[in-house]
């Protein structure tokens, strides 16, 4: 594969570098629309079952630790912040800042995944994982309670998977940034990587209130 050949110069089917950049971002945005529809299916299932089993969902949601959830959201927002600074660094061509901010983004992403792993582990210990060992205190409706946690694990699991892919993308960008490949006239991969990262952050922005904050007033 001639990956070296397509560094800065133009791939053959495009007329101008600007056309190539605009096409890449347009392609990523359309890909993000497919991701919106992909997560959309899960949000539909969540909406239907929350409406049908409101009380059990509230009870189950209150077993999640809201402080950890909020802190984790802040961590992810912070990683978005460092990501956008990385893109800005690439725009103005300061290679060192680009590398620093990419590393920060990767680390913050790692922290988020670590906290998520800790939460999941906590759920395993409290027997809140759907299956034969499942038990949720305070309700006889164990079935719908398992439904909540199925949705919880599916949605956060899918989001975590997208985070892992994002981390891989960031490492790829870090490696090429380290080799000085990105210049103010050619930094499309960083911009496109940023779009993907911010999208994954937006998905979490919706997941956090829907999963954690259903009925905190009923504590």
């Amino acid at each position: 594969m001639d990956s070296h050949a397509e560094t800065a110069e133009l791939r053959e089917q495009f007329e101008t570098p600007a056309q190539q950049k605009e096409i890449s971002t347009l392609g990523m945005w359309i890909f993000l629309v497919t991701e919106i529809m992909f997560f959309g299916g899960l949000f539909l299932a969540y909406a239907i079952y929350r409406r049908e089993f409101a009380s059990v969902f509230a009870l189950a949601s209150n077993t999640l630790d809201v402080v950890i959830g909020a802190v984790n959201t802040a961590v992810l927002l912070c990683s978005s912040f460092t990501m956008v600074l990385a893109v800005r660094a690439a725009q103005i061509g300061s290679r060192k800042a680009l590398i620093v901010f990419l590393i920060l983004t990767i680390l913050l992403g790692g922290v988020f995944l670590g906290v998520k792993a800790y939460e999941w582990n906590q759920k395993f210990e409290e027997h809140h994982v759907p299956g034969p060992t499942f038990h949720l205190e305070g309700t006889t409706q164990q079935g719908p309670a398992q439904l909540f946690f199925s949705l919880y694990f599916t949605m956060t699991g899918l989001h975590a998977l997208h985070m892992v892919v994002g981390e891989g993308l960031m490492l790829f960008l870090l490696w090429h940034a380290y080799r000085g490949k990105y210049t103010p006239s050619y930094y499309t991969p960083v911009d496109v990587g940023g779009l993907y990262w911010h999208f994954v952050d937006i998905v979490w922005i919706f997941l956090f209130p829907l999963l954690y904050l259903i009925a905190r007033h009923q504590h």
Binding site: I23, I30, T34, F38, G41, G131, L147, F153
Partner: protein, 542 residues
């Protein structure tokens, strides 16, 4: 594969040789031929299952295959024909090959993603083939829960993964087409100078991008439910099986427009070229493609009228379903109007176009029957529905696919197909098709349910007629396979523009050079401007 007889000019087929030049190609034309081979294989595989089903139904008793083999037959017929032949058929072969050429581009926006799309289809196909060879899947192509998750013990997961992967091939093709049409048109190629084939593939791409991800998440949930029992569709734990049907049909109804819209694009081209007239009401036909793509997403509930869906939702979906019928009707009227005062040639592609318009009209009108709440309660899940969607899929999309294949064969291979044999096979297919599927309308209204291994004796006469038609149809489909191969070696050499068409793809050589055009064409005329074409011909000759 192509002998030296084709004049020794540099073109995309002899630009490079060897397996690597094909399996690692980034040329949209070569990728189109790779797709052509793949989907032809899957078409004949699905056809074998269809023949076995029809043979089994020759007699009321089940005496050819066992009951669960019969379930596997109709399931695999559905899965392979829909996901591995119909959905990729026109966009991936004719669309891949000609869309860039028609807009004057050197290639698609993302050539490497285009190759990845083909690999995804092949890998998905391998999963489906593994499931088939290992023991088949017996849930029906619709995979309804709770049967597919808790009660079937066949290869549901392998098939589901196969469709999941093949779905990404469709998404990436759609993404590629949208970006290409928006950003890589030749100078002068405004939106209203685009050939209608490009318009319909653009509308199809919108559906592929917006719809396919929902079937992806549906399959993820189905496989999750089947392996980990997450309970999302399990009624014992509060899950609702009707939710699966909503998620499934949200994609699967627009999917039928993924299958039929490119066919409409081909027909617009054929009708225009073979009556040497621009398509009547160009803008209306173009916008009706996009209208079908958009409205196609609002109507899926007509598959759930008797499923336990609420009565009021049934009203909403029936009402919206009639909106999506109007653009299709407009297209048929405009094609018919194009013929008026035209110079109509009876070349094989035009025979397929006539066949398409006739059969698609019947298919579309019976669609009004199943969208009507009162009648659908009776005909839902009967042979009436089977006849309806085969009229549109086989009578419509397949006819247009064959018509398009004949129409563009000289451009793709530099060879003409044998006209006489082609006309005969078109006629055989048309007659065989009607004999196969028209009796099924009557069967359906009589109440014969679908997916039945045996049936009451009084339905046998209609089933025998249908099976007879199926054998004629099978013969009709084998003929093109034979004479297309024959034409590659012995077919007469085709010039750059054998049909006198106005598209940009006919202004370059046949078969076209690797980069489509020696220099990027400048478009100055409107779409389908035959007068300008004639003037250009004189200039060249004079």
């Amino acid at each position: 594969m192509i002998t030296e007889a084709v004049q020794e000019r540099e073109h995309y087929l002899n630009a490079s040789y060897g397996i690597k030049s094909w399996l690692l190609t980034k040329d949209h034309k070569r990728i189109a031929l790779l797709y052509l081979h793949t989907i032809t294989f899957f078409f004949f595989l699905g056809g074998i299952f269809a023949t076995l089903i029809r043979l089994e139904l020759l007699t009321p008793k089940g005496d050819l295959v066992s009951a669960d083999t019969y379930s596997k037959l109709f399931t695999l017929h559905g899965v392979i024909m829909i996901f591995f032949f119909l959905i990729p058929s026109i966009p991936a072969t004719l669309g891949n090959f000609f869309l860039p050429m028609m807009i004057g581009a050197k290639d698609l926006a993302f050539p490497r993603i285009n190759l990845l799309s083909w690999y995804l289809l092949v890998i998905g196909g391998c999963f489906a083939m593994y499931a088939m060879l290992a023991g088949g899947v017996d849930t029906g192509w619709t995979f309804y829960v709770p049967y597919s998750t808790n009660y079937s013990n066949t290869y549901v997961i392998a098939t589901g993964l196969g469709i999941f992967i093949a779905g990404f091939s469709s998404i990436l093709t759609g993404l590629n087409f949208i970006v290409t049409v928006h950003r890589m048109r030749a100078p002068g190629m405004t939106w209203f100078r685009l050939p209608l084939f490009v318009w319909s593939n653009y509308a199809t791409a919108l559906i592929q991008v917006l719809g396919t991800p929902v079937i992806a998440i549906t399959l993820v949930l189905l496989i999750g439910e089947r392996t980990l029992h997450i309970g999302i569709f399990d009624p014992a734990r509060g899950g609702d099986p009707v939710l699966f049907q909503h998620l499934f049909w949200f994609y699967s109804h627009p999917a039928v427009y993924i299958m039929v819209l490119p066919a409409m694009g081909v027909i617009s081209e054929l009708v225009s070229v073979f009556s040497k007239k621009p398509v009547f009401g160009y803008k209306v036909v173009a916008f009706s493609s996009v209208a079908i793509a958009v409205l196609g997403f609002l109507v899926w509930g007509h598959h759930l009228f008797v499923s336990g869906q609420s009565v009021y939702a049934g009203l909403v979906f029936s009402f919206l379903s009639y909106f999506v019928a109007i653009p299709s009707a407009i297209k048929v009227f405009n094609w018919t109007a194009t013929l008026h005062k035209g110079s109509i040639s009876y070349a094989t592609p035009m025979l397929y176009a006539f066949g398409f318009i006739g059969l698609f009209t019947v298919g579309g009108l019976t669609g009004l029957f199943v969208a009507c709440l009162g009648v659908d309660v009776h005909v839902h899940d009967t042979y009436f529905v089977i006849a309806h969607f085969h009229y549109i899929m086989v009578g419509g999309t397949l006819m247009a696919y064959l018509g398009g294949l004949h129409y563009w064969w000289p451009k793709m291979s530099g060879r003409m197909y044998p006209e006489g044999w082609a006309k005969l096979s078109a006629l055989v297919i048309y007659l065989g098709f009607n004999l196969t599927f028209f009796p099924q309308f009557i069967l359906g209204y009589l109440g014969m349910p679908r997916r039945y291994w045996t049936y009451p004796d009084e339905f046998q006469v209609l089933h025998v007629m249908s099976t007879a038609g199926a054998s004629v149809l099978a013969v009709g489909y084998l003929m093109p396979l034979i004479y297309f191969m024959w034409s590659l070696r012995y077919g007469p050499i085709a010039g750059p523009n054998p049909w006198g068409a106005t598209g940009l793809e006919w202004q370059t050589a046949s078969p076209p050079p690797a980069h489509n055009f020696d220099e990027t064409p400048i478009v100055t005329t409107e779409a389908y401007d035959y007068a300008a074409l004639a003037a250009r011909e004189e200039v060249k000759v004079g």
